[in-house]
């Protein structure tokens, strides 16, 4: 792994899904870059394309109908899209790993948890060391008595423990990049904090880079240095966390922030965003957010805005910020 340059570089990624209703442009031209050791958040509602972005980086989709049609994905300088299927398979788990939302359904119910953790290691380095490494990983994620937990089956563990086990499965081979897709959505609020804690710790102790995919701005604020806001397949705003929360530029981001409940303040929801995410097979003309935008202008209905620079690393794709200059 080279020290210079970002760990993950995504350029103009387009991922399409063929459906009976036509081509769904799940990811419609996004670019982002993650420096080594950083944590970035990819935020959006369901249907925004954030999960598909994660799948695209892994080049693994839950359906045969999805395809990366254009773009560049580089991991530590290595072009992932040019790898053969076999090479990509080896990269999964080893260089880049992904954890998913619901630990219950993502664990094989008839196999001991530890074995599922050890598998990925055993495949690369043989079984002699695999068990030990698996126990290590289980300990790293904070599971008590990892040796004992190794033998347990998923249904014998609590939800929080299962999620930790899932994380252990992902990091056992020490991947450079961990993509976490809604890791806290399926667990209790009290467990959420623990899971986030685990992720933070892993970042520090293993120097792992984290891409956190979520709809929950709260956890992004806690964990991530950079935030990318996605809407209908595009990134509409990218900024360092403080900048985003302090002065969000895109009306969508503003709406999300306003709609988020603050646990500390227990403030009631002040504003609910009208409308819903558009049908990705039939996107509106112009800015795709314009039907829901409270600050919509005539131009928005016709032309899709490019990204404008709002600050040092702060980009917004909105005509409201045209004066601030082109990126």
């Amino acid at each position: 792994m080279n020290g210079t340059g970002p760990l993950l570089l995504v350029e103009d990624l387009h991922t399409h899904i063929l459906t009976t209703r036509g081509v769904v442009r799940a990811v419609d031209g996004i670019s982002l870059s993650l420096p080594q050791g950083s944590a970035a958040g990819l935020v959006g509602e369901s249907g925004s394309g954030k999960t598909m972005t994660g799948f695209s980086i892994l080049r693994l989709f839950p359906t045969d109908a999805a395809r990366i049609v254009r773009g560049r994905i580089e991991l530590a300088g290595r072009d992932l899209l040019s790898l053969t299927d076999e090479e990509m398979r080896r990269a999964r788990g080893g260089d880049v790993a992904m954890i998913f939302q619901d630990p219950t359904t993502y664990l094989n119910p008839v196999m001991p948890v530890g074995q599922q953790v050890a598998e990925a290691y055993a495949m690369r380095h043989g079984w002699t060391q695999a068990r030990q490494k698996a126990v290590e990983a289980l300990g790293l994620v904070g599971l008590p008595d990892p040796g004992e937990t190794y033998r347990r089956f998923p249904h014998e563990l609590s939800g929080g423990m299962r999620q930790r086990a899932v994380i252990a499965m992902a990091i056992v081979c020490r991947p450079a990049l961990l993509i976490a897709d809604e890791p806290t959505t399926a667990v209790d609020v009290t467990i959420q904090a623990q899971i986030l804690d685990v992720l933070q710790r892993l970042r520090r102790e293993l120097g792992m880079t984290l891409l956190l995919i979520t709809h929950d701005l709260g956890i992004v604020a806690e964990v991530c240095e950079t935030v990318h806001v996605m809407y209908a397949g595009r990134i509409v705003e990218s900024a360092p966390s403080e900048a985003l929360f302090a002065s969000p530029g895109h009306p969508y981001t503003q709406g999300l922030l306003a709609a988020t409940l603050s646990i500390d303040e227990a403030r009631p929801i002040t504003r609910v965003m009208e409308g819903a995410v558009p049908d990705l097979a039939r996107l509106p003309r112009g800015c795709r957010f314009h039907p829901r935008c409270p600050a919509v202008m005539d131009r928005c209905r016709i032309e899709d805005p490019p990204a404008f620079r709002l600050g040092a690393h702060h980009l917004v794709a909105c005509w409201l910020h045209e004066e601030q200059g082109a990126p």
Binding site: P62, G93, F153
Partner: protein
Amino acid sequence: MTAGSTPLWRYAAGRLAQAVPLLLGVVVVNFLLISLAPGDPVATLLGEYPAPPEYVAQLRREFGLDQPAPVRLALYAWNVARGELGFSFAYRLPVAALVVGRLGNTFLLMVTALTLAALVGVGLGVTAARRRGSGLDTAATGISLAGYSIPDFWLSQLLVLLFAVFLGWLPAQGIRSVREQYTGMAAVLDVARHLILPAAALSFRYMALISRLTRASMLEAMSQDFILAARARGLPERLVLLQHGLRNAALPVVTVIGYNFAFVLAGSALVETVFGWPGVGRLLYDAILQRDTPVLLGVLLMVSATVVVVNLLTDLLYAALDPRVRY
């Protein structure tokens, strides 16, 4: 296989306890048949062979035929428990000894057929699931349907016609050649030669069932989330298919195989008759011809007991494979 929640032996003990009333139920059914059959129960118990009057008197005493019904039931159950199932005058042997003697041959046939059916069926099912919608899949489905609908005894006759009568490759009757006396390895091979056709006939129906079930089960298992998670860890496809997919898909298949044992037993009766295979089934056929009722009753009892045992074993096998069941 780890111990998991409830240790396997405790689960086994529990199931064993449940099996006992079932066996009692079978005895009651037998008793009802004897009592309700038209004519004198003694005649039923004797069959239509002339028996010495002392034996008839002994029978009256033993089975308590001059006692009220509940006493008779108790006496009958006690006799069964002692292994006293009556005497067959057609064969001049105690029924129990006669049936047990034949069971071995039937088991040989059944186990061979079952193994054949399992191997071919699972293979066919997995392949059909992998290449869903292809010509192979349709062909496999067609074979399944045929296996369901073609009567085993007719299939047996067809096999005899084709391989024994027209082609002359394989013997049509019996378990070993009558003309030669083979010893040692040659004897084993001789039996094997005679085993091929009946085992194939018996296995066909089962194979159809297994392949259909495996296919459906595999499709179900492979669409589960943990398959995606396994692929995301970079596991090779064969491992995913077998260790994660089949391991889960096998569960319902194993149960169905085990619980359909009763049907295979019935099928065996028919197949044995066509091939003159000296097993329990053939015994049944001859007993009907000879009106040897005690043998019929004895067979029913033994056969049902066997099914209870096999069900028990299936339960245990399932519990061994699926740790969730043992609670």
